[in-house]
């Protein structure tokens, strides 16, 4: 490899919001043909840095140089013109359901001032094919964007971002919603782009991503660069720099557990699917890992009464258990926190019920307020206890959810389902958008519960290791126990099968 060419240089970047300094002096050089992994806990300043680069707002102080020239974008469009391509995390927003992939690829051209008034399908298709070809992707141009899997949607977003002669590509947690196989495809695309001289800033927490891709890892903490690690990236050191202390032991110790709480016997999730057997015991944490779409969410939803299962039987405490709704499951002590807390657990923050206390109490109102009238301070008390016990950083029980970071929001979800004793606690991807520190708190709280049987679905095997007494891999609706002894050799179990 030739000597690296600096593309982007940052000098002493500062950015303050209100009383908090999001960036407190960042100096960084980004080089062409290199993948730079940007790491950092929530609130460390990653998003702020990306927003400065992509022109969302200007820095308070400091200079940015792009290809040696002063770079001060006044808008995201200006940053894109200058050659900074940003792909945000939620790629569903890259296209419009009902429009084709081709339309999505050239969407930004429709809004350009020099766009023709009339566009024919053929001209759109031709332009889109050129965009896809330039990125070197093979995309189904005529499909509806909404039908694409998350990986293909990601490709569309990347292709479109690259269509304007980008010099720097910024990817925000691109593998968060990808299966192992899809992620592998994305990695080869990124390696190809790197070989063609593109500079890439890759934001991720996944050690497997970083080990495979990164030429260098930069860790932000408290708005400053806490570590700058060369390839091969020492991931434990990076994680330690992220949270500011070493992670003593990554994997959780398996423990003894109590009696059988829940049994799935020949459970069939979708008609024609294979039967599943699973036993959950009191006081144990079982993790379910495997690629996206393998049926993890469906299994949890079936046990939690959210979707019906096609066959087989569940037994709860030895008795047949067939919940027809979450309501019935909750009444039986089986509670489910769905994936994506905003979609499955929260009301909008400025809507009634959007405070910490009200979020925690929602499933328990009937028990706590049998007369129907919301009297007494039970709601506030439970929330105050949870804030202390789970170390939730909030101004108090009445704090609006939007004022909390992702990790603290997730703690509120856990507080909700731990507010009343449950027999089975089901958590679907509880660590999405949760920083390492909050994740450790959540794991500690889950493992401290020695009466509930806890089943956690996570597509990140590292999370499974840190969390669980037992781990299963679910792939194509088949369960296989994961032998923890061989852990180091199989960092990405989903890819192995």
């Amino acid at each position: 490899m030739t000597a690296p060419v600096p593309i982007l240089t940052l000098h002493g970047l500062h950015k303050t919001f209100g009383a908090t300094a999001a960036l407190a002096g960042v100096d960084l050089t980004v080089e062409a043909g290199r993948i730079l992994a940007l790491m950092g806990a929530n609130g460390a300043g990653k998003s702020t840095l990306v927003n400065l680069l992509s022109g969302a707002y200007p820095p308070d102080a400091g200079r940015m140089l792009l290809r040696g020239q002063s770079f001060a974008p006044t808008s995201p469009a200006a940053a894109a013109r200058a050659g900074i391509a940003t792909v945000h995390q939620s790629t569903q927003l890259a296209g419009i359901p009902g429009l084709s992939v081709a339309d999505a690829l050239v969407l930004d051209r429709f809004v350009a001032a020099d766009a023709p008034l009339f566009v024919s399908r053929r001209s759109v298709r031709r332009a889109a094919a050129a965009v896809a070809a330039q990125a070197g992707f093979d995309l189904p141009l005529d499909r509806d964007f909404a039908e694409l899997g998350p990986a293909d949607q990601q490709m569309v977003a990347i292709a479109r971002a690259l269509s304007r002669k980008a010099a720097l590509l910024i990817l925000d947690e691109p593998t968060a919603s990808l299966s192992a196989r899809e992620a592998a495809r994305l990695f080869s695309v990124l390696e190809d782009l790197r070989a063609r001289g593109l500079a890439i800033i890759y934001i991720s927490h996944r050690s497997s991503d970083i080990e495979r891709l990164a030429d260098r890892a930069v860790v932000l903490r408290g708005g400053r660069i806490a570590a700058d690690l060369p390839r091969p990236v020492d991931v434990p050191a990076a994680l330690a720099a992220m949270i500011g202390r070493p992670i003593d032991s990554l994997a959780a110790e398996p423990r003894d557990s109590g009696g059988v709480v829940l049994e799935a016997q020949g459970l069939v999730l979708t008609a024609g699917g294979p039967p599943l057997d699973l036993t959950l015991r009191a006081g144990e944490v079982v993790a379910l890992t495997g690629p996206l779409g393998a049926g993890k969410s469906r299994l949890l939803a079936a046990i939690g009464g959210a979707t019906p299962f096609a066959g087989g039987a569940l037994r709860l405490g030895g008795k047949a258990f067939k919940p027809r709704s979450p309501r019935e499951a909750i009444a039986a002590g089986v509670v489910l926190a769905g994936p994506d807390r905003h979609r499955s657990s929260f009301v909008p923050s400025d809507w009634p019920g959007g405070s910490v206390a009200e979020t925690i109490s929602l499933p328990h109102l009937r028990r706590w307020f049998p007369t129907g009238l919301l009297v007494g301070d039970r709601e506030r008390r439970v929330a105050a206890d949870a804030i202390e016990r789970l170390r939730i950083r909030a101004s108090g029980p009445r704090a609006r959810l939007a004022s909390l970071s992702g990790g603290n929001q997730q703690k509120v979800v856990l507080a909700r389902w731990q507010a009343e004793p449950a027999r089975v606690l089901l958590l679907d991807e509880p660590f999405q958008g949760v920083d390492v520190g909050a994740r450790a708190d959540l794991i500690a709280a889950l493992r401290a519960d020695r009466t509930t049987a806890t089943l956690v679905a996570t597509s990140d095997p590292e999370e499974a290791l840190q969390l669980a007494d037992r781990i299963f891999i679910l792939e194509r609706q088949r369960l296989t126990p994961w032998d923890r002894a061989g852990v180091g050799a199989r960092a990405e179990p989903g890819a192995a099968a």
Partner: protein, 350 residues
């Protein structure tokens, strides 16, 4: 450092640079929170100065009486808005309730004790049908209730072949109806408690208090809002979402029927054109209610204040000899202003 006194009226020019934005937002917020109530107070004061008769109890009661039906309907819509729905059939339910009540008494010769429960059941029934269309057939709420509005507007004309109902009405069959309006029934619209408080105003206040408590201080209200905020989350938290949404439409249908009863009792005849402006007025009141106290969500208190706000404004302008035909324009202007207050001002930061 010359930090200026943080008085309410602190002169902006003297404020040093950085804090301007930091302080401007709380001020803007306070303006939004108290804006409509302050405006209402200002209106009352200035109308009273223009014409002292405005403040007479009789006039104030007539203002409240004039908004009572709209406020009752709007309170019902507010409940459907809280569950994330919308009921556009309220105007037609009220109008057909007027016809149903009149028909029951004039044609069938029923008394108040039979008519009132029957009409209330009719309103609740429409609510059930609305709920069935929305919940089981999954028709979007706006479309389902708009269709129901259309259907009822037409249905109410059929029994009398498009005639208004008065005693002695000639039926399509050629017979003449010989029933009359039960005097007890007419009292719903005309009696005054202690010679001062009109029954419709009493009904409005009672319904407002009950619904306010229901939505703000009971677990049912909490669940209503939870469904409106995120139905999936409410269902996963164990809320019986279908039952609750259904009850919201039944409440709204029943309250619309109450509104219809009040109109029928006040007018004393089944007028086919009654209630033509009710729907828009009630929806406007509910939407103005978003801006009252800057809540930004449907709330019964705001809705009733919104209805009263419009009533005070119209009454005052009428007193000042503003022509009748300007009323809709005034209502529209208030609504645009209130919505701007709710959705526009000071939201750029988020």
């Amino acid at each position: 450092m010359s930090d200026p006194p943080a008085g309410e009226l602190g002169a902006p020019a003297a404020v040093p640079r950085a804090p301007v934005t930091a302080r401007a937002w709380p001020v803007a917020r306070r303006v939004r929170q108290t804006g409509l109530l302050a405006l209402l107070a200002a209106m009352v004061v200035s109308f009273a100065r223009a014409d002292p008769a405005f403040l007479q109890i009789a006039n104030l009661m007539s203002v409240l009486q004039s908004v009572s039906v709209v406020a009752i309907l709007a309170a019902g819509v507010t409940v459907t808005l809280a569950v994330g729905g919308f009921d556009l059939s309220i105007g037609a339910v009220a109008a057909s309730s007027v016809m149903a009540a009149s028909y029951a008494m004039v044609v069938w010769g029923l008394d108040a004790a039979a008519t009132v429960p029957m009409v209330l059941a009719f309103g609740a029934g429409v609510g059930l049908v609305n709920a069935a269309l929305i919940i089981w057939l999954r028709i979007p709420d706006l479309l389902a209730t708009l269709a129901m509005n259309f259907l009822l507007t037409g249905l109410q004309l059929i029994p009398t072949a498009g005639r208004s109902i008065t005693p002695g009405l000639i039926l399509p069959s050629g017979e003449s109806a010989d029933g009359v309006f039960d005097p007890h029934f007419l009292e719903i619209g005309r009696a005054r408690l202690g010679g001062v408080l009109p029954v419709p105003v009493l009904l409005m206040l009672g319904i407002a208090v009950v619904l306010h408590v229901l939505t703000q201080h009971t677990r049912f209200g909490r669940l209503f809002y939870a469904i409106g905020g995120n139905e999936t989350a409410a269902r996963l938290a164990g809320a019986p979402t279908r039952v609750l949404r259904l009850s919201a439409y039944v409440i709204s249908g029943t309250l619309s029927a109450v509104g219809g009863l009040v109109i029928a009792a006040r007018v004393g005849r089944g007028d086919i054109s009654s209630g033509s402006s009710l729907l828009l007025d009630a929806v406007a009141a509910a939407l103005i209610g978003y801006a009252v106290l800057d809540r930004r969500y449907p709330n019964v208190f705001g809705t009733v204040v919104g209805a009263i706000f419009v009533g005070v404004l119209l009454n005052g302008l009428t007193m000042l000899n503003a022509p009748y035909y300007t009323q809709d324009f005034v209502k529209g202007a208030v609504l645009v202003g209130a919505l701007s207050l709710t959705f526009g001002l000071g939201r750029r930061q988020s």
